[in-house]
C-alpha cells in the first residue's frame, strides 16, 4: 500500500491505531513512517509531547507489554514505539518510565524497522542518558545502551551515533570493561543510512575508546584508537583530535619510550595544532625530556605543570615516569650480556639502591618482559634476545594465513567495487577523452623544475 500521505492523526490514540494496523514491513515503511515523519515535520514541539504522552493516564508502552514481559509481541510495532519512547525521553518532564520498559524495548526491538528512523535512534540514545542522569543513576543507562549498540547496526563493524554515547558513558561511569566487546571489533563501515553521523561521532567514539582501553592498560589498542582519531580527515584541527594527540604521545612513551610520528595521511592542520598550540607545550617539553632520557628534567616537568592535571593526563604521565626504568633496563640488555646490579642502578638512575634494582629486575622477569638471571654475586646476565621469541605454533601461522587471505579478498572486492563505481568510471573516461592520456599519472609527465627562481636564490 503506497497511497498519498493520509490525514495526520491528532491524538496518540489514533496514532496507536495506525501503528496497530501496519502489520507488514512494507506497510510500516510506506504508511506508518510517512505519517510519523509528517507529524514531527509539521509541528515538532506539539508532536513530540503528544507522542511521548499518556492516553487517559495510561502508559501505552506498558499496555503493549513493554516492561511487563510482552516485548516480543510488541517488536512488530518497533517503529511506533521507537517514536513514542524517544519522544518521551527527550521531554523536559517525561511521564514515569521504568527501567524495565526501556531495557525491554532495547532487547526486543526489530532492527530493520528501527533503521527506518535512524535519527530517532540517536535521539533515543541521548534520551536514555538524560533519563538516567535525571533519576540520579547514570549507570542505569549502560544496559539499554549496550543492547542498543549491539543490536541496532547491521554488523558490529558499522559505526553508529550510539557508539560514542555508549563508550563515553562507560568512561564517565568508569565501567570500562563494558565497552570492551564493542571496542574489540574495529570499525570499517560507515553508512549514513544506518546512522545519521556527524564527524564528532567518529572522533568521540575513537577518543573515548582510547581512554577506556588506556584505563584498562591495553595500551597498544588504545594507541590504535587515538591514532584513528588523530588521523581522521580534517580541514581544521578538532579539539578532540588535539586531545587524542596528547594521549597518543603519552601512550607511545609508555610503550616505546619515544613518540612515533602519526601516519602520513594525518591532516597537516592537526599536526600543526599539536606543535603550536599553547596547551601542548608542556607535553612537547615532557616528550623531549623523555626521548633524550633526561629523567630529572622529565620528573620536574611532570611535577610543575598543571596542564597535565587539567587535561586529566596525570595518570598517564605518572605511568610514563614509572615505565622509564623498565625501558632503560631493556636498552641495557641490548648492549650487555652481564652487568653488576650497581652498574644497572647507575645506568637507570637508581644509584645506591641495589634492593630497588633487584626488585625491578625481578618484576620485569615476572612480567615476562625480560629473560635474565641474577647471580649470587650481584651480577645479572641477560639471555639472548631470541630466547624470548616464541616459536610460533602451526595453528598460529595458519590463523595468520587465513586472516591475510581474508584481508586480501576484502581489498580485492573493494577494488572491484570501486572499479565499477559510477564516479570512478566517469572520471577515468573524462580523463582519457581530454588529453588522450587518461590513465597516467599527471605528475610523471611534468618535467622536473629546477633553477627557475634564479634571482631568488642569491
Amino acid at each position: 500500500m503506497s497511497g498519498p500521505i493520509p490525514n495526520l492523526p491528532t491524538n496518540l490514540g489514533s496514532v496507536l491505531q495506525i501503528v496497530h494496523s501496519c502489520q507488514s514491513f512494507n506497510a510500516v515503511a510506506n504508511q506508518l513512517l510517512p505519517t510519523l515523519r509528517g507529524l514531527v515535520w509539521n509541528n515538532a514541539g506539539q508532536a513530540e509531547s503528544m507522542l511521548g504522552g499518556l492516553i487517559d493516564g495510561a502508559d501505552p508502552l506498558l499496555n503493549m507489554g513493554l516492561g511487563t514481559g510482552g516485548g516480543r509481541q510488541a517488536a512488530a510495532y518497533t517503529l511506533g514505539t521507537l517514536y513514542m519512547l524517544s519522544a518521551r525521553l527527550s521531554m523536559t518532564s517525561p511521564p514515569q518510565t521504568s527501567f524495565q520498559t526501556i531495557v525491554e524495548w532495547c532487547s526486543t526491538f526489530e532492527p530493520h524497522q528501527a533503521r527506518l528512523a535512524s535519527d530517532r535512534v540517536g535521539k533515543l540514545a541521548k534520551g536514555i542518558v538524560r533519563w538516567a542522569e535525571q533519576s540520579g543513576q547514570p549507570e542505569d543507562a549502560l544496559e539499554p545502551l549496550r543492547l542498543l549498540v549491539t543490536r541496532y547496526p547491521p554488523s558490529p563493524a558499522y559505526l553508529t551515533n550510539i557508539h560514542p554515547v555508549f563508550v563515553q558513558l562507560c568512561c564517565t561511569t568508569r565501567h570500562f570493561m563494558l565497552a570492551l566487546p564493542i571496542l574489540s571489533v574495529p570499525i570499517t563501515e560507515i553508512d549514513k543510512d544506518v546512522s545519521d553521523l556527524h564527524y564528532t561521532d567518529n572522533l568521540l567514539y575513537h577518543y573515548c575508546g582510547g581512554v577506556a582501553l588506556g584505563a584498562l592498560k591495553r595500551f597498544r589498542e588504545a594507541a590504535d584508537f587515538f591514532e584513528i582519531a588523530v588521523s581522521s580527515p580534517a580541514s581544521v584541527a578538532s579539539a578532540i583530535q588535539v586531545e587524542a594527540y596528547k594521549k597518543l604521545s603519552l601512550i607511545q612513551l609508555i610503550l616505546y619510550g619515544k613518540t612515533a610520528s602519526p601516519p602520513k595521511y594525518t591532516s597537516p592542520a592537526v599536526s600543526r595544532a599539536f606543535r603550536n598550540s599553547s596547551t601542548t607545550q608542556p607535553y612537547l617539553k615532557f616528550i623531549n625530556a623523555i626521548e633524550i632520557t633526561d629523567r630529572e628534567a622529565a620528573r620536574k616537568l611532570a611535577k610543575d605543570v598543571e596542564a597535565f592535571q587539567t587535561d586529566n593526563n596525570m595518570g598517564l604521565v605518572q605511568q610514563v615516569l614509572d615505565r622509564l626504568p623498565w625501558l632503560a633496563v631493556k636498552k641495557l640488555k641490548e648492549t650487555y650480556m652481564k652487568l653488576a646490579l650497581e652498574e644497572i642502578g647507575r645506568e637507570i638512575g637508581l644509584p645506591d639502591d641495589i634492593k630497588a634494582v633487584r626488585a625491578l629486575i625481578v618484576d620485569m622477569i615476572a612480567a615476562g618482559e625480560l629473560s635474565a638471571s641474577i647471580h649470587p654475586d650481584g651480577t645479572v646476565s641477560f639471555e639472548e634476545e631470541s630466547a624470548l621469541l616464541p616459536q610460533p605454533s602451526k595453528l598460529q601461522i595458519e590463523t595468520a594465513l587465513v586472516q591475510a587471505r581474508d584481508a586480501v579478498e576484502r581489498l580485492a572486492e573493494l577494488d572491484r567495487s570501486i572499479g565499477r563505481s559510477r564516479d570512478y568510471i566517469q572520471k577515468a573516461l573524462h580523463q582519457r577523452d581530454s588529453g588522450g592520456m587518461g590513465w597516467q599519472d599527471e605528475e610523471s609527465m611534468m618535467p622536473p623544475m629546477r633553477g627557475e627562481s634564479w634571482e631568488d636564490n642569491l
Binding site: F25, N26, A29, N30, R37, G38, W41, A44, R115, L116, D119, P186, I187, T188, I190, D191, K192, D193, L197, H198, Y199, L203, D224, S231, S232, P233, A234, S235, V236, A237, S238, P263, S267, E334, T335, Y336, M337, K338, L339, E343, T379, F382, E384, E385, S386, L389, P390, Q391, P392, I397, A400, Q403, A404, A407, L411, L414, G451, W454, N457, L458
Partner: protein, 493 residues
C-alpha cells in the same frame, strides 16, 4: 706600540663594518658556526710535524693570506711566522682592512718585535681604491645610459672583481649577480658563476656553492662536455662552444661542489665529488692545491665509503693517483687501512693532525672525521669474530680499554655492530640470532601491521566518502529534520 694601540679601536670598527657588509652573503657561514666550535689549539712539535714554508708556498692570492691567518689564530708556535708571511702577502694586495687586522693581531702576540703599520701604503692603497672605484662606477653609469648590454655586463663584472679584491664581498656578490642579468651567452654565465664560486670559497660560504655549481652546469652543453668530468645533472642544451667545455672548468665545478658538501658535513657526497673531479684542474692555487684534494678526498672516503670503494675509487684510481702523489702520507694511511692496520691508521692521523687542523676548509671536520674513521675501523675489526677480549682490541687500536668500551657501546646502541658486552669479564660477544624464530615473529608482526593499517585506511576512506570531515563550525550545523517527502525509504529486503 702606542700608535698601534690607538689604532686598534679603529681597526676593530672597520672590521665590524666589514663583517656587517659580509652578512648577506655569509649568513650561511654564520649558521655553520652554530655547530662549531671554537678554533682548536694546534700543537706543532716533532710528533706533529708541519712545515709552514713548504705548505704555504703552493698557495697564492687571497687564500694564501686567509690560510696564514687561520694558522696563526690556531697555532701559537707558528703564529709569529704566519702573521709575518700574511702581512707580507697582504702588502702585495689591495685590502687595507685585512692588512691592518693582521698587523694588529701580530702586535698582540706575546714577546714579538712590534711592527708599525705602513701608513703610507695604507693611504696609497686607499686612495687608489677610491679612484678605481669612482672610475669603474662612472664607466658603469655611462654604459647604462648607453644601454649596451655587453658593456654593462663587463662594468658589473669589473666592479665585482674590484670589490672582491678590496675585500668587500657583499658588494662583489651584488655586482656579480647583476652582471648575470646582462649576460647574453652561456659563456658569460659560466664566467660569472666561476667568479662567484671563487668568492664563496674564499668566504667559506659552503651552503651556496652547490647552487652556483648547478647554475653553471645548466649552461654547459651536454653534447660537447668532456668525458673526463662525469656526474652532475645538467640540462638546457645551448649548442655553444667555448670555455665551457673545457675540462678545467668541469673540474673546478666538481671541486667547488665537493667543497660545498664538505663544508656542510655531507662527507660521503664530498668524497665522491672530489674523486670525480678529474686531473685537469690545472693551476688553481689561489683556491686549492692537489695536495688538499688528496687529503680531503681520502679522509672523507675513509670515513664514509666501503672498503672496496676505497680500494677501487681511491687507491687504484689512475686519475686520483696524481693527487695522492702530492701527499705520500695519505697513501700510507689508506694502505694501512686496507691492510687492517688500524693502529697505524690512527697513529698516522694523529701525527698529521696539524696538517689537517691548520687547513682552512678542513679544520671544523677533523674531529668528526677522525671519530668516524675510528668507529668504522672498530666495526671492521670486529666483523670476523664471535667474541673478542676488549683489552686485546684496545691494544690493537692503541686506545685505553675504558674509552674503547664506551665507543663499542655507542656502536651497539646505534645498531652498527650486532654484539653485546659482558661488562664483568670485558668481553665483546656477537649476538646469536635464532633466524627461524626471528623470521616467523617478524612475518607475523608485519602481517598484523599491514592488516591494521589497511583497516585504518579503509575507515578513513569511508569517512571521506561520507563527508565526515572535520571542518570549521560555520553557524553550528543543526540536525536536519527530515521531510516526509524525502525518498530515502529503504526497500524492504
Amino acid at each position: 706600540m702606542v700608535s698601534t694601540l690607538s689604532d686598534e679601536p679603529e681597526v676593530e670598527e672597520q672590521l665590524a663594518q666589514q663583517q656587517e657588509q659580509l652578512q648577506p652573503s655569509t649568513s650561511a657561514a654564520a649558521s655553520r658556526d652554530f655547530m662549531s666550535r671554537t678554533k682548536p689549539e694546534v700543537k706543532v712539535d716533532s710528533d706533529h710535524p708541519f712545515d709552514l714554508e713548504t705548505y704555504i708556498s703552493s698557495y697564492s692570492g687571497k687564500t694564501r693570506a686567509r690560510r696564514l691567518m687561520h694558522i696563526a689564530s690556531c697555532c701559537p708556535t707558528l703564529a709569529p711566522q704566519a702573521y709575518q708571511l700574511a702581512i707580507s702577502t697582504l702588502l702585495t694586495m689591495r685590502d687595507p682592512h685585512a692588512y691592518m687586522h693582521a698587523v694588529a693581531a701580530y702586535n698582540q702576540l706575546p714577546g714579538v718585535m712590534q711592527v708599525d703599520q705602513d701608513q703610507a701604503w695604507i693611504d696609497r692603497v686607499r686612495a687608489e681604491n677610491q679612484n678605481q672605484r669612482e672610475k669603474l662606477e662612472v664607466e658603469l653609469r655611462t654604459y647604462q645610459s648607453n644601454m649596451i648590454k655587453e658593456s654593462i655586463r663587463m662594468g658589473h663584472r669589473d666592479l665585482g672583481d674590484f670589490f672582491r679584491a678590496i675585500g668587500d664581498s657583499g658588494q662583489a656578490m651584488k655586482h656579480y649577480t647583476k652582471s648575470r642579468e646582462f649576460s647574453t651567452t652561456s659563456q658569460h654565465v659560466l664566467e660569472m658563476c666561476l667568479s662567484v664560486l671563487e668568492l664563496l670559497m674564499e668566504q667559506e660560504s659552503y651552503n651556496q656553492l652547490q647552487n652556483f655549481v648547478y647554475k653553471a652546469e645548466s649552461v654547459i652543453d651536454p653534447g660537447t662536455q668532456n668525458a673526463d668530468a662525469k656526474g652532475g645533472p645538467r640540462k638546457k642544451p645551448t649548442n655553444q662552444t667555448g670555455m665551457e667545455d673545457s675540462p678545467v672548468v668541469q673540474s673546478k665545478l666538481q671541486v667547488a661542489n665537493a667543497l660545498g658538501y664538505l663544508g656542510r658535513g655531507a662527507y660521503e657526497q664530498a668524497a665522491r665529488a672530489f674523486l670525480q673531479a678529474g686531473t685537469q684542474l690545472g693551476d688553481w692555487s689561489k683556491m686549492i692545491t692537489p695536495g688538499d684534494m688528496a687529503v680531503y678526498a681520502s679522509l672523507c672516503s675513509l670515513a664514509t665509503l666501503s672498503r672496496s670503494a676505497v680500494k677501487t675509487l681511491v687507491l687504484e684510481d689512475e686519475k686520483f693517483r696524481v693527487y695522492l702523489e702530492q701527499e705520500p702520507y695519505m697513501r700510507d694511511i689508506l694502505e694501512a687501512y686496507m691492510n687492517s692496520k688500524f693502529k697505524a691508521v690512527l697513529e698516522l692521523l694523529e701525527r698529521h693532525s696539524a696538517r689537517h687542523l691548520l687547513d682552512i676548509h678542513l679544520w671544523p671536520h677533523v674531529q668528526h672525521l677522525t671519530t668516524r674513521i675510528r668507529r668504522r675501523a672498530i666495526i671492521l675489526h670486529f666483523q670476523p669474530y664471535a667474541s673478542v677480549q676488549l683489552s686485546r682490541m684496545a691494544e690493537t687500536f692503541g686506545i685505553p680499554v675504558a674509552e674503547l668500551e664506551k665507543e663499542v657501546i655507542g656502536l651497539i646502541q646505534d645498531g652498527e655492530i650486532a654484539a653485546r658486552v659482558d661488562s664483568t669479564a670485558k668481553v665483546l660477544k656477537a649476538k646469536i640470532k635464532d633466524q627461524r624464530a626471528a623470521l616467523f615473529s617478524k612475518a607475523l608482526k608485519v602481517g598484523e601491521d599491514a592488516q591494521a593499517q589497511s583497516r585504518k585506511i579503509l575507515l578513513r576512506m569511508r569517512l571521506v566518502q561520507n563527508n565526515l570531515i572535520v571542518h570549521e563550525p560555520k553557524g553550528k550545523m543543526q540536525p536536519v529534520v527530515q521531510s516526509p517527502t524525502q525518498p530515502d525509504i529503504r526497500m524492504a529486503d
